[in-house]
Amino acid sequence: MQGLLRGLVYGGLIITVLMTATAWGMWLERKLAARMQSRIGPNVVGKFGLLQPVADLMKLLQKEEIYPIGADRLLFDLAPFLVTTFAIATAAVVPFSAEAVGADLDVGLLWVLALGGLMVIPVWMAGWASNNKFALIGGMRAVAQSISYGVPLVLTSLVAVVFTGTMSLSGIVKFQIEHGWLALWPPGPGVVAFVLFYMALLAESNRIPFDIPEAESELVAGITTEYTGMKFGLLYVGEYVHTMVGSAIAAVIFLGGWDGPFHIASGLHWMVIKTVALFASVYWVRWSLLRFRSDQLMRLCWLYLVPVSLGLVVFAALWRHFVLR
């Protein structure tokens, strides 16, 4: 019971901060995108447009709810709920600092991968329930993409497990504090693993260049085509939270979590800086690159990413066995 209470209190704290951060992450994305296009971005609502996410929320709250004819109403409602739940719940095991962690599970990494993998289900639910062809095609592609890129995601995080010998996220960070960040040490494969993980992260959170499920130019709005008001908002927020948590996990696994460079002033702030930087870089990529075609996406994954990440696992095992001992 004491644990449940801790989860609720810590969870409440972390989730509130996370949601707030995500809301202003959206603002950051719009501002960044605007500056990349020589625009200003939102700057009328509040100082520097800082209240824009609040205005968006208020507007979404009052929009009418529409169920299209032939929609599966239960799944239609359940999908946004589950997307948000899964996206947030992933954050339970992320150690933002040595103390600020919701539940430091000894199989934390498995928790992350499992909940991240579960995201496929509500996305497909949304696509199926809408009774809309764009949504259905978007959902189908989303499933294909998510499960495909799930494989390199799992394998690259396996690299970290092989190196560190633990699946607890805080354990991985502690190992990195001792032995150096995984992205930098051992030189070479760590960086490759990090890059592959980053690409898989982009694909899992449906960001350009892997945003086939949304693909505004082909599929209108993908799975969200029929969603109005807050349900659309939840699907949207879910994606951003997913990206934010994914960035945090990438920072934990490969960038040493709360450890400062050369152990300088380690603490929560380093984790925040790394997460936000990764989050911003996702949107930097998003507003710079083009979208892959569906078949290119699949080929990239199965022909290159999967074998390379398998090779990395083998390398990690050898390194672990012969160098670290």
């Binding site: 960044l32 605007a34 500056r35 990349m36 296009q37 020589s38 625009r39 200003i40 700057n43 260049p209 930097w284 990529v285 507003w287 710079s288 690159l289």
Partner: protein, 211 residues
Amino acid sequence: MGYLLDSIRALGVTAKNIGRKPVTVQFPKVIRERQERYRTSFALLKDEQGEERCVGCLACERICPSQIIHMSSTKKESPVTGKKRGYLDDFTLDMTACIFCELCVQVCPFDAIVMLKVPHEPGYVREDLVLTMAKLYENAEKPLTWGNGTKLMEMQEPPKPAPAQAAAPVPAPAAAPVPAAVPVPAAAPAPAPVPVPASAAAAEPAKTEAP
């Protein structure tokens, strides 16, 4: 590989842009300066004696491709010159279907109708976009474009031999105010040499501060 290199270049371009100054003109605060020949909306002018220039000759009404100008007039004795001439009773210009072709300005023999540099305000009903006679005369206070009927017609005529005393280089038609006595187009009856219209058109700088 090519995709990778191009991607990196693309990332570089966007990163470079972040540091640049945005080109956005923040509309309600700063009103963007219009180009020299930008033209929207209309105004009716009065001459120096305060008399309406328009005599209701229907030239604009007839030439309007969208057929949105409607006027009616009566003949009265002018209090200023004492001659009989037409006076507008009503003049309506319906902006809901205007295409801003400027033909009405070009055909006006009295330089009575001119165009503005500031657009007509968006309205809540169609009627907000109908320029009545009162609104058109009010609009004369706003920044006008350089062109009026005389100048526009001059532009299209073949260049005339310069008069002896006006040997000085002719200023560019776009910017310069018209010399005091312009030759009157042959078609127009001469109600005295056409006086310079308040000529705010060319001289007035574009308004750039808050309304």
